[in-house]
Amino acid sequence: MLKAIVTVMLKKGIFDPQGRAVQNGLDSIGFDQVKKVRVGKQLEMDLEMTDMATAEASVHDMCDKMLANPVVESYSFEIKEA
C-alpha cells in the first residue's frame, strides 16, 4: 500500500478571502508578524498500489481530472509507503 498526500491551493495572484480572514484573526490575538495566509486543502489517499512511478502517474491524472481545477488551482503531492 502507498499513501498519497495531495495539496491543492488557489493559484498565486488569486485573492483568497479565507486566508485574509485567518490572517485578520491571527492579528487580533497578537500574531501581527503574520503578513499573509493562504488556505488550501489536503487530501490523503490510500492507494492499493506498489509501484511508485505508476502511482505518481495516477495521482497526476486524478488531480488533472478532478481533484484540482487548473483554471484557479495548483496542486502538489507526495507519495510514501503507507
Binding site: 488557489l10 478571502p17 479565507q18 481545477n69 483554471v71 484557479v72
Partner: protein, 233 residues
C-alpha cells in the same frame, strides 16, 4: 419542442425551472437524470441550481463527471441550447463548456438577495427579449459566485460580447461598489463563443412568475423559446 431539466443529487431549483417551462411558457418539459447516457428528444437543456453532490471538493466538481454531462456536451456541440443557473453555471465551468471558474464570494458570506443586473448583450438566443443596457432584477443565492478567468480570457470574452449580465445598481451603473461577490468586471452571466451555452449565477426561474413578485427573468425563457421556434419553423 421539448425541454429538459437535468437533475443531480442535491439539485434544489429544478422544480422552479420545470414550472417556468411548463406553466409560464406552456411547453413540454421533462426531467433528465444525471445517470442518463441518452437524453432523448430535447431541444433545450436547463441545468438548475442547488448543491449537487453537496458541493463537495468544489461546487460542480463531481457533478460534471456524471454520464449525463457527456451527453450534454454532445448536445451542445451540435448547437443545442444549454443554460446553467447558479450551481448549473458552476457545473458548466467545471466541465470547461464555459471559460473561467466561480470562486468563493469575496465577503465570505452566502448571498441571498434580489439583485439588479445590467443586460450587456441582448443579441443572443437567451437575451433577445431584453435590450442591451436594460436593468433587470433577479434573485441571487450563492456562496461561490465570484467569477474569475485569466486576464486574456476576460479580454477575449469582452471583445466577443460574451458577457450577458453584470451586477449593477438600480441606475444601471456597474462599479466595484455594486458588485456583491467580487466577480471580475461585475460578471453575472456569460455565453460561450458559439452562442448556445449560457451560465449565470442569478436565478431567472425565480423571477419568471409575476405571482412571486418578480417577472424580469421570464425574458430568458421566452428568448430561448422564440429562438427555438424560429429554428424549427
Amino acid at each position: 419542442m421539448n425541454w429538459g431539466v437535468l437533475l443531480f443529487p442535491g439539485s434544489n431549483c429544478a422544480e422552479d425551472c420545470f414550472h417556468a417551462v411548463d406553466k409560464i411558457l406552456g411547453k413540454p418539459v421533462k426531467y433528465l437524470w444525471h445517470k442518463d447516457t441518452d437524453l432523448g428528444d430535447v431541444d433545450a437543456i436547463i441545468i438548475p441550481g442547488g448543491f449537487s453532490y453537496g458541493d463537495h471538493l468544489r461546487p460542480g466538481a463531481i457533478a460534471h463527471l456524471s454520464p449525463a454531462m457527456t451527453a450534454v456536451k454532445e448536445f451542445a456541440a451540435k448547437g443545442g441550447l444549454v443554460i446553467g443557473i447558479c450551481n448549473g453555471f458552476q457545473i458548466l465551468t467545471e466541465s470547461r463548456m464555459l471559460p473561467g471558474s466561480l470562486l468563493q464570494n469575496r465577503g465570505l458570506k452566502f448571498l441571498c438577495q434580489d439583485q439588479t443586473l445590467q443586460v450587456d448583450n441582448a443579441d443572443t438566443p437567451f437575451t433577445s427579449e431584453y435590450a442591451s443596457g436594460d436593468v433587470v432584477v433577479f434573485p441571487i443565492a450563492h456562496n461561490e459566485g465570484n467569477y474569475y478567468a485569466a486576464p486574456d480570457t476576460i479580454a477575449e470574452m469582452e471583445a466577443n460580447g460574451q458577457i450577458l449580465f453584470r451586477y449593477c445598481n438600480p441606475e444601471g451603473e456597474v462599479s466595484d461598489g455594486t458588485n456583491p461577490n467580487g466577480s471580475l468586471n461585475g460578471i453575472a452571466g456569460i455565453i460561450n463563443r458559439t452562442g448556445n451555452v449560457v451560465g449565470m449565477m442569478p436565478h431567472p426561474e425565480r423571477s419568471a412568475d409575476s405571482v412571486l413578485g418578480l417577472s424580469d427573468g421570464k425574458g430568458v425563457f421566452v428568448s430561448m423559446l422564440k429562438h427555438l421556434e424560429a429554428k424549427h419553423g
